[in-house]
């Protein structure tokens, strides 16, 4: 869902992470006023750095796989850049033209998975489900940030646009599965350790059950994920068929 929301936030306004391009892409005939030259420079730098960061993670995964000879427990080899670049995405909230609500929701859910689940519950770090969402996020983000970079420079290769609006079909469900399986794997350890939970009696007459909270989060995927997914499908039809009419951009 963190994966889904990312693409959706982006598709909604062609913003959602890298700032909005000028008339450069075929989101329709509407021309959005582009950001000023200083803001554009900042956004380009931001998007290039983020693209590079996720490429580092991708390369890290491949190298670790080749070195180990297996795809298990690859998380440890990219843990630091993953935390750094995914948390860094918090900077997107506010500089993005598209809905602040959608962007912050997306970033918060990613950050939640990285820190409040994977980092906090050490026992799940060796789970294969972690690799599932890390791969989904890595591919999605590399494409997404390069999409923004090229859009800002008014030079968007059709391939990137196609990839952005097509690969999600597989990457979304993949990412969501990885996320859900990881949260599910964390549950017994959370229960056992009473992680992030507080029980009565206490001075402030308050209680919080992190285990129940995680279950609620998992349930929330049911209404939220289909909405995001079908929104992307709808966007895909709109944007890719529109480009067909206008021929390839180059």
């Amino acid at each position: 869902m963190a994966a889904a929301a990312a693409a959706t936030a982006a598709a909604k306004g062609n913003g959602g992470g890298g700032g909005r391009a000028g008339a450069g892409d075929a989101s329709g005939t509407r021309k959005k006023k582009g950001p000023g030259p200083l803001a554009t420079a900042y956004l380009v730098i931001y998007n290039v750095v983020m693209t590079a960061g996720w490429l580092v993670i991708a390369v890290g995964l491949v190298r670790a796989y080749l070195a180990k000879g297996s795809y298990h427990s690859l998380y440890y080899s990219i843990e630091k850049p993953l935390k750094f670049f995914q948390t860094g995405a918090l900077l997107e909230v506010g500089i993005v033209p598209s809905s602040v609500v959608l962007t912050s929701f997306q970033v918060m859910s990613r950050v939640f998975l990285i820190w409040a689940v994977t980092h906090s519950v050490k026992e799940v770090q060796s789970e294969d489900s972690v690799l599932l969402f890390v791969i989904a996020w890595t591919i999605t983000e590399i494409i997404r940030y390069s999409f923004y970079t090229f859009s800002l420079l008014n030079h968007l290769p059709y391939l990137i646009k196609w990839a952005r609006y097509t690969l999600f079909i597989v990457l979304y469900p993949m990412g969501v599965s990885g996320e859900l399986l990881t949260i599910y794997a964390a549950l017994p350890f959370v229960r056992q350790a009473g992680l992030y939970s507080i029980s009565l009696p206490n001075k402030y007459n308050f209680s919080f059950d992190y285990y129940a909270f995680l279950i609620l989060i998992m349930i929330s995927y049911i209404p939220i994920f289909p909405q995001l997914y079908f929104h992307m499908i709808h966007q895909r039809r709109k944007i890719l068929s529109h480009t067909e009419e206008h021929k390839k951009f180059e």
Partner: protein
């Protein structure tokens, strides 16, 4: 009723009520109503009284489209413009002899009174379920038991009093400028009020409830804050009511009266919200319950948004609005 644009009756035809109207027929404005989104002609009204108000036009429109009762009609001069007010007079609007109005459906509406009564009755009832420890909330051995802490009984009295006061004010005090709001609001609002009431009540009435750290001193102080703010809030509601005659929608600048509680008007535009926040802070201190503090915080955030909006419209409407006043917190916010 099928949509048929009524034949435009020729204004010069002798058959159109000769001798009845004092004005030559050519002077009667006509009104056409178009759908704001599709521009489809929905209705044509001829020979509308020049002094007709938008409210009357809405009533005429309902006759041809009974499913769109006046409360759910938004009529405007521009499809993307602001809604016209019910009191606006047709003649005074910048229209020619044929006025074109654009219609937008506001969706199903529900009266403010209904929403208020429902959203306030819930917490009153729900809190009592927890207070009496009705089965299936706490362990079975606690069913229908009573707390041994005085503050828990006091809290129930305060909470219940608060919502009874709100219900009575809704029925007898408040004068609403809008009759209705969108139907979906009742679900949103009730979820908020009922949800928080249940959450707070669960902890305050819990068998493992811990009374305030500073004991009776803390409770007495908090109770004083609560009572003062309840009286203050009520005083403001009465003062606002007296500003506006029954059935009218007049707006005037509120000023302090002889009642000392209303003197807060010197410093804030919406002292009713100030007192309301104060009441809940008092309740939070009294119960020393974090969920109550969170509820106060959320309420404060929402009331601040409303107060700022109200303050802004006061400033826009009245040139001589007292400059010292802040929206909700004296000197600060």
């Amino acid at each position: 009723m099928s949509l048929l644009i009524p034949e435009k009756i020729s204004l010069s035809s002798a058959s159109s009520s000769p001798g009845r109207c004092p004005f030559p027929t050519a002077e009667y404005p006509e009104v056409e109503i178009l759908d704001a989104k599709t521009r489809e002609k929905l209705c044509f009204l001829d020979k509308v009284e020049p002094h007709a108000t938008i409210a009357e036009i809405k009533n005429l429109f309902t006759k041809t489209h009974p499913q769109w009762y006046p409360a759910r009609q938004s009529l405007r001069l521009d499809p993307k413009g602001k809604s016209l007010k019910d009191e606006d007079v047709l003649q005074k609007l910048p229209v020619g002899t044929t006025a074109t109005l654009y219609f937008r459906d506001l969706g199903a509406q529900i009266s403010w009174v209904t929403v208020f009564l429902t959203e306030y009755a819930g917490p009153l009832f729900i809190y009592l379920l927890f207070y009496f420890r009705v089965p299936f909330i706490y362990g079975h051995k606690y069913d229908f038991t009573s707390s041994r802490h005085t503050v828990v009984h006091l809290a129930c009295i305060c909470h219940s009093f608060h919502y009874v006061k709100r219900l009575l004010e809704t029925l007898f005090v408040h004068r609403f400028s809008h009759g209705t709001m969108p139907l979906r609001n009742i679900f949103k609002n009730c979820t908020y009020y009922w949800g928080f009431a249940a959450w707070m009540a669960y902890y305050i009435n819990h068998p493992l409830y811990t009374p305030p750290t500073y004991g009776a001193q803390q409770v007495k102080l908090a109770l004083a804050i609560f009572v003062i703010c309840q009286l203050g809030n009520f005083s403001i509601h009465m003062a606002l009511r007296d500003l506006r005659p029954a059935g009218s929608k007049t707006r005037k600048i509120p000023y302090p009266t002889k009642n000392p509680f209303t003197w807060l008007f010197l410093l804030v535009s919406c002292p009713n919200y100030t007192y309301e926040v104060g009441s809940w802070i008092g309740f939070a201190i009294m119960t020393q319950c974090l969920p109550v503090a969170l509820f106060s915080l959320v309420g404060f955030t929402q009331m601040t948004i409303w107060a700022k909006g109200k303050h802004r419209s006061y400033l826009k409407e009245f040139r001589d609005y007292p400059p010292l006043r802040m929206p909700i917190i004296p000197f600060l916010l």
